[in-house]
Symmetry: C2
Subunit: 338 residues, 2 copies
Amino acid sequence: MANIKDVARQAGVSIGTVSHVINNTVPVRGVTRDRVLEAVKELDYHPNSVARSLQSRRTNTISLVLPTTERNLEEHSYLSELLAGIMDESRHHSFDLLLSASCPETEELSIYRRMVRGKRVDGCIITCTKENDERIVYFLEEDMPFVAFGRSNEEWDFPYVDVDGKAGVHQGVRYLIELGHRRIGFMGLPSELMCSRHRLEGYHAALEEEGLPFDSSLVTEGKASQAGGYHAMKKLLDVEPSPTAIMTSSDLMALGAMKAASEKGLSVGGDISIVGFDDIQLASNYHPPLTTIRQPTYKIGVMLCHMLIQLIRGEKLSERQIILQPELIVRGSCARKR
Amino acid sequence: MANIKDVARQAGVSIGTVSHVINNTVPVRGVTRDRVLEAVKELDYHPNSVARSLQSRRTNTISLVLPTTERNLEEHSYLSELLAGIMDESRHHSFDLLLSASCPETEELSIYRRMVRGKRVDGCIITCTKENDERIVYFLEEDMPFVAFGRSNEEWDFPYVDVDGKAGVHQGVRYLIELGHRRIGFMGLPSELMCSRHRLEGYHAALEEEGLPFDSSLVTEGKASQAGGYHAMKKLLDVEPSPTAIMTSSDLMALGAMKAASEKGLSVGGDISIVGFDDIQLASNYHPPLTTIRQPTYKIGVMLCHMLIQLIRGEKLSERQIILQPELIVRGSCARKR
DNA sequence: CTGTTAGCGCGTTCAC
DNA sequence: GTGAACGCGCTAACAG
């Protein structure tokens, strides 16, 4: 396989000259230039990206790490859209994407250490932020460019994009209240997740705003999967008096909840109302179509990636912390209380 | 950031020795060894993977390229499970995964060229194979290790894992026939995809086996998305006399079809029967639960990755071509014809 | 056992 | 404008 030396020999010039014409780093005389270009074509020469990285100390690669607890990605229901956004944007800037999942067995930070200290990537994107998130501490310590999908400790200054989950849930619950519901259940996420708290706050805020009492037996905590929603729903339906409406924390949970409700003979969007969160592709095509809180997931992916690349390039971010407002999408899974 | 030289200085040994203790390439005396290890710890030294790659001509990275036509990954409904399988297996072998999507705008092969000639990765996984697939030709020409999820031209010898789509569809259609259906529609995929043909063959084979006539107005071709299934279903329901059962080529299509049927006032699993293909997570949790042909997607991901890594390591594959048998999973979306 | 040295392929001064 | 030489951080071959 041809390297820069071969091209130089073939073109009858020196290595330096080849490098210059390839990278447009110094003007080269037309004739010489053409000779080089021709040699490049003839030999089908492509610069060795590894050697380039070694020299330039830049890999042109970013890393996305999914915190995974199970042997599947189901909980990351927004993944395909987020990925699409990240990939489109990174390709647009000629960056590659290294995808990893932290596994249950090995210590989570070890994977980052390998990436960061091993100079495997120029920057990282993380999701599912927690309070006192050790990944953030690590990146900050190491001065590694990164952006997070989600907030963490308020006193920390780091770049992130997040959705105002509190406002989103607030909207959803208020909508349910407007429909006449008084006993409204809430399906939360694992409490270590920051977004879990924000969404719970939204639930509290909406109840308070409307002067409704808080009943802890109407609140569950579980994974953002269908299984999670299914089990949570079973629990909520056993409460007496049982809720007539449920605010969930993810569309997948909502689908699981719908299943549990159907199995109990309840008609969703009739006997019981359910609101999702995310607005994944499926939501609008479900039966009944899911009323949900929309997150612009694709766009978030684009933003995250764009911010990270700016960071890597040493450019200043116009906004270091971005909080997007989600939007209530009314479809068919909710009904006026009867 | 510390490099091998710093460690050597700190430990009072030469860089060669440091390299040896790190890589266990040559036995080193206990005392020296310990001194080195201590220095490594003190400086929090991690070998620079780029430099390593340059030297070893191995990147320990594999690449998965998704052929994407749209700005999202919806058609790759099996993606999250396939990815999970690939990631688990690659991590298990300490390989990283570089994820790319070919975009509509740029020529598809250019992305591979950059990967292959630029020595960016040690091997590739491709999906959605076609006839005369130019990616396969390229990898073969370049002698680049790769495995495909799907077959291509029969005369080509390359490693792949595939599912016997013909047998799968055959099973599904036979099942529908056994339920008494006589007018059975088939939703195919874009015809350039190899799996599209195999599945269509299964449809033909089943009809023939049972002596049922083929009616081309009952066959559609479209994307493996909900939208694709939705539109296909609308078309099929307009045919006179309309089909009482539909065999689809993907679960997502089936869900879209179910939506279209519901909108027409048809009850799925009652008035009309629908069979999916894939058995994604959602299938069993849908309402009604989807009868489908199961592909072991996670396992396929593991196998693909494992084969590729064996190839990269120069090991012999026990099986170069693997065709898995799919399995009919009977759930609630089909009923006896009435 | 340990140290020295020559590349891996490329970008980049600095002379010419 | 162009070319020679050095160095990025590491491994491997060879000497000691």
